[in-house]
Symmetry: C2
């Protein structure tokens, strides 16, 4: 069968990983497909500094993306520049010109994926977005096709490798967040501006895409309650360990009778769950299905080559659709709203909570906090205090029985009017039964 | 778009799970597909005893499978009767009649899958086999498409839930195999004739299919060295734990410079590996890719509903191919032999080994065993003896440095001529670096 040709816009880390695989693994890719994947155009502002594999053969090299999306030899445009402005222009122009598109751009897809898919279908081309979530883990293929027959009821993910690396370092060395972050930046595991990662926005974009696929619903990032990991202290791990839990940044989507509750936030997870074994910069997704029960997917969440595998596997799938004439075979985005899964506010979440307090040393404070909780209908589960000699400088912890986030927030608002609190209490949901 | 219709041959446990999902989840399935999946024919010898969901509407009910494979309304025949004789007739007749086929039959696919795929392609129909391996884990979709761009270098699986249940029960309660097996049979976790499971044949069929997909190679079960779990003793777990290992029935396929080494056998795996966390009747597959590094997939390996999810997801995929006119879009079986992956005998395996001995109490025995190992070029790593008072009744263990299975077997053959051995030594490879 005839070769399918690719043009890549943005030849940075992932672009080079993609090119390496396309060049080195060309024979096996062609054997699996029954035809070859060729590279015909590359666009980058610093292309001359990139060690483009010679095995690719003659390639158009340009710094103007328009030359790629209009190149008549190119069947599939790979968008790897990131951001949402130029990237959107590239993707939409490619589609307008009858090219299929593969992208690793989670932010673009979380914000405009559904619209972009409609445009692709309108033009009879395909769209591949596997690389936009969880790098080397083929979780979108799993949700779109692998377990399509199931009805997903909950999905919990560790979707940001930087945060998971930082949290496991805090856990291992009992070192504060700021110190670990600096070290992570020095090692290149965290960006100079870490906001997207440590404040949860990167994970939020990924969850928006995953939840759209898992629940057949249009989800926008603003539907997702988002809280980063800056407030997590080493002492939170000590308390968590007392209860055989640990702390992770969990991206969660759960179906409730009232609707879909979506959040990205630091959470306590039981050490008995398989998610708790995810350490360092790995990503993982745990899916609960009504029929298939629980499945779990784990792998590298980032990196040139693992993400390159996602890009190349998507290129192969899209190339197969092109050769089979089946661009609309599987929608990566929900077209119909099932209605049963409407996103609802986080205040509707029902969960047990971990509450960490720092207070001035006065008598009767626990009684007063307990009274506030009782007043909002919240039952205490335990009061924890680490057996340290100078415990007055240490925070203490109250865990609650399951309650609503709404009640919890009302209690915290009430507590905020009390003058013995040294800082706002820090609350995390406790996920024991994953 | 027009409905795609299904006929099911064999309405037992998995058949009922499949029907439940098709009936209960019909609306979501239709939304995802853009068209409906209907059930038009059911065949079973005891159909009148099955609680067929009324929501399916009018259905042809028969005890003659020929009526299903010739029913003009049926687009896809689901084969769920098992075995390789009648099942093969059903599948081949369905294909001859222009029907696509979905099957959960691992034995049939391991033995004849490649031929059956050739027939399907010859007739322009599709073949879905996701349910034949690892129940609710969509591992075939992952290997065929999800990580198609990668080059798999090793694959390790826990593929038999019965064996994993038995081994974790031995581990938990320090109870011998025979007692645990009886209990498992009483609870319905093991068959009255447990041979297929505990002697490794079930896992062997699954590995044959997985390895064919992962390495693009025609693998037959006879290529796979197979050894069951009957010789595993509670004391093996005690020794394993001393080294921070555990014991599992591991189905392994590894690429070596000389070729592909395939085995199903009890193995020591490090507790630090994610596979070691797989307990009870769960299944899991760990895949090492040259580019994507390690990914890991976990879920229910059996059960009516999890396997039903695999059948229904496959039905959806095949229905999509039918509606898109792309039956040959992705081959489930290798058509071309890459050559680099030829199966080679287990004697070529290079591994560290765990050797358990029971010997008569005489002086100098460890020295004699060590001399035999040294004579075959095998270096000792450690000699382990549990600190029991009556240790003379207990076996002791020698672990080796990495060596070839060929050298190991030569050493064991030499030892067999020594008269102080009470039983044949029990050898397991040690997998520390998964």
């Amino acid at each position: 069968m005839q070769q399918v040709n690719v043009g890549i816009v943005g030849v940075g880390t992932i672009g080079m990983g993609t090119l390496t695989i396309l060049a080195e693994n060309a024979e096996q890719i062609a054997t699996k497909l029954g035809f070859s994947l060729g590279v015909k155009a590359l666009c980058d502002l610093a292309l001359e500094t990139r060690p483009i594999p010679a095995a690719l053969g003659p390639v158009q090299k340009t710094s103007d993306w328009r030359e790629v999306v209009t190149n008549p030899e190119v069947d599939i445009v790979v968008e790897l520049i990131g951001g949402t402005h130029v990237a959107r222009e590239v993707v939409e122009a490619a589609i307008r010109n009858g090219k299929s598109v593969v992208t690793a751009n989670k932010e673009l897809m979380a914000l405009y994926g559904s619209d972009i898919w409609d445009r692709a279908i309108g033009q009879g081309v395909n769209l591949g977005i596997e690389a936009s979530v969880a790098g080397g883990i083929p979780i979108l293929a799993v949700l779109r096709e692998g377990i399509a027959g199931d009805r997903v009821t909950a999905l919990f993910g560790i979707l940001n490798g930087t945060c998971n690396y930082i949290l496991t370092e805090i856990e291992k060395h009992n070192t504060p967040f700021d110190i670990v972050l600096m070290e992570a930046q020095r090692l290149g595991y965290a960006e100079a501006d870490p906001t997207l990662d440590v404040d949860g926005f990167d994970a939020r974009s990924k969850l928006a895409i995953l939840a759209a696929l898992a629940f057949g619903e249009r989800i926008t990032p603003s539907d997702i309650y988002t809280e980063g990991i800056r407030r997590v202290l080493p002492v939170d791990f000590l308390y968590a360990h007392q209860m055989d839990y640990t702390v992770r940044l969990i991206a969660a989507a759960r179906q409730t009778p009232a609707g879909l509750v979506l959040s990205v936030r630091p959470s306590l997870i039981s050490n008995r769950t398989i998610l708790a074994g995810v350490r360092g910069s790995y990503n993982a997704i745990w899916v609960r299905g009504l029929y298939g029960e629980d499945t779990f997917y784990y792998g590298r969440g980032a990196g040139a080559r693992p993400t390159g595998v996602a890009v190349v596997s998507d290129l192969m799938r899209v190339a197969r659709e092109i050769r089979s004439g089946s661009p609309a075979r599987v929608s990566p985005f929900a077209h119909e709203r099932l209605g049963e899964y409407e996103p609802i506010p986080i205040t509707r979440l029902k969960s047990a909570y971990y509450l960490r307090f720092r207070v001035e040393d006065r008598p009767g404070i626990i009684a007063r906090l307990a009274a506030v909780l009782a007043d909002k209908g919240i039952s205490l589960d335990a009061v924890l205090q680490l057996p340290e000699e100078n415990w007055r400088d240490l925070p203490f912890v109250i865990t609650t029985q399951p309650t609503t986030e709404e009640s919890l927030r009302a209690a915290l608002a009430e507590m905020a009017t009390h003058d013995y609190l040294i800082e706002t209490p820090f609350a995390m949901p406790m996920e024991g039964r994953l």
